[in-house]
């Protein structure tokens, strides 16, 4: 029974993926992509990867969807400007891509059932850090350097996006201004939902120590709440030259790096935590990252400053 459920889910995902690349309008593609993300979330739950399911729900369909929808809306009237490959070339491409997919499929089918060496290693780290969630043990202790670099990538991407601002708009508020909507369902919703979202983000951060969840997933939800308030026109983003905003963005990576370097002195290796306080230290670092990552993600969706004049 469940096998057929999985097969149906997989076929649904592939059908939506096909629709996302095959339709002409960017809006339709994006809608298909967002629904594809929802189907993938269920697929990750079926695979037993609850942490990944949370992240896929939040980033794969939520934030990426918002980003692409905004871009699709603004490029709606852009002329179709590249040449479509000719029919024979497309057929050739289709055959080549099908070959790639078949090769990868053969690899998947050839995967052996193996002994989980790394799972054992990460699970044994639970005794050292006091966290019971194996994925968070990997992220925060076992491969902490990857996680730091990931925050650096987010930070670098934000610097890249901001650097796309025209000279005249530099230092001003990012993105377009959404005028406050007339009092209606949207404004009510944007006032009622954020407190619930903050609670759920805090919950995810807190349970992340021992159960699926964590700083990143909580941050995504916070970012979505910030964007919702902005879309409803209740608040505008601060100017990118604001010192408080910049401090907020740097706080998380700086805390993580600082604690990692302090590990050299306190525990004998970079990104090692003193065993007695490991859980407390990790929670503090995660809280700092929650705030910074939420701000960074929201600003990445909002885009570079582009208003030459101060908002009317």
């Amino acid at each position: 029974m469940t096998a057929w459920f999985d097969v149906g889910l997989a076929l649904m995902a592939l059908g939506l993926a096909w629709r996302a690349i095959a339709t002409r309008r960017a809006f339709d593609s994006t809608v298909a992509f967002v629904i594809y993300g929802l189907v993938l979330t269920i697929a990750w739950v079926r695979l037993g990867a609850y942490d990944v399911a949370l992240t896929e729900a939040a980033v794969g369909s939520g934030l990426t969807g918002a980003l692409l929808l905004g871009a699709a809306h603004r490029l709606e009237r852009a002329p179709a400007d590249e040449d479509r490959p000719s029919a024979p070339l497309r057929a050739l491409l289709a055959v080549a891509c099908a070959g790639v997919a078949l090769g990868l499929g053969a690899v998947v089918l050839a995967l052996p059932q193996v002994e989980p060496l790394q799972a054992v290693a990460a699970a044994s780290a639970a005794e050292a850090t006091g966290l019971l969630n194996p994925v968070n043990n990997v992220l925060m202790a076992f491969r902490a350097i990857d996680t730091v670099l990931e925050k650096m990538v987010l930070f670098a991407a934000l610097v890249g996006v901001w650097s796309l601002a025209p000279d005249a708009a530099w230092g001003r508020r990012p993105g377009r201004r959404f005028p406050p909507a007339a009092e209606g369902p949207l404004t009510l919703f944007a006032r009622v939902l954020p407190p619930v979202g903050v609670l759920i983000a805090a919950h995810l951060l807190w349970v992340g120590a021992d159960a699926p969840g964590g700083a990143f997933q909580g941050a995504t939800i916070l970012a979505a709440m910030i964007l919702l308030v902005r879309l409803a026109g209740l608040a505008d983003a601060p100017p990118v030259s604001s010192r408080a905003l910049r401090l907020l963005i740097v706080l998380g990576p700086a805390a993580f790096l600082g604690v990692g370097m302090a590990g050299v002195v306190l525990a004998g290796a970079p990104f090692a935590y003193p065993a007695a306080h490991a859980k407390a230290i990790i929670l503090v670092v995660e809280f700092a990252m929650l705030v910074s990552v939420a701000a960074t993600l929201a600003l990445l969706v909002v885009g570079p400053p582009e208003r030459a004049q101060a908002a009317p």
Binding site: M1, F27, Y50, L54, G70, I200
Partner: protein
């Protein structure tokens, strides 16, 4: 009881998939948004059912996140479609 929940999840997934095909072929933008709304609620129901059936309380958290973000995505759709 778990078997019944899995059956219910499969039934809802099938029902939603049928509705989805219809709506994705629909002509207007509102139809596309309805598709997203439909699979949002259906997907959350499926998640709750398989989560409780598998005894994994974490899946309820996934459903919570999805419920929050599906609302966000819906608002995004509308602002892409309606407010110029």
């Amino acid at each position: 009881m778990a078997a019944l929940m899995i059956w219910a999840a499969v039934a809802i997934a099938a029902i939603v998939a049928v509705g989805l095909v219809r709506v994705l072929c629909g002509p207007t933008r509102a139809d596309s948004m309805m598709a997203a709304q439909l699979i949002g609620t259906g997907g959350i129901a499926v998640l709750l059912l398989i989560g409780v059936a598998a005894g994994a309380p974490a899946v309820v958290d996934v459903a919570l996140a999805l419920a929050l973000l599906s609302a966000f995505a819906g608002v995004g759709f509308v602002l892409g479609g309606a407010r110029r």
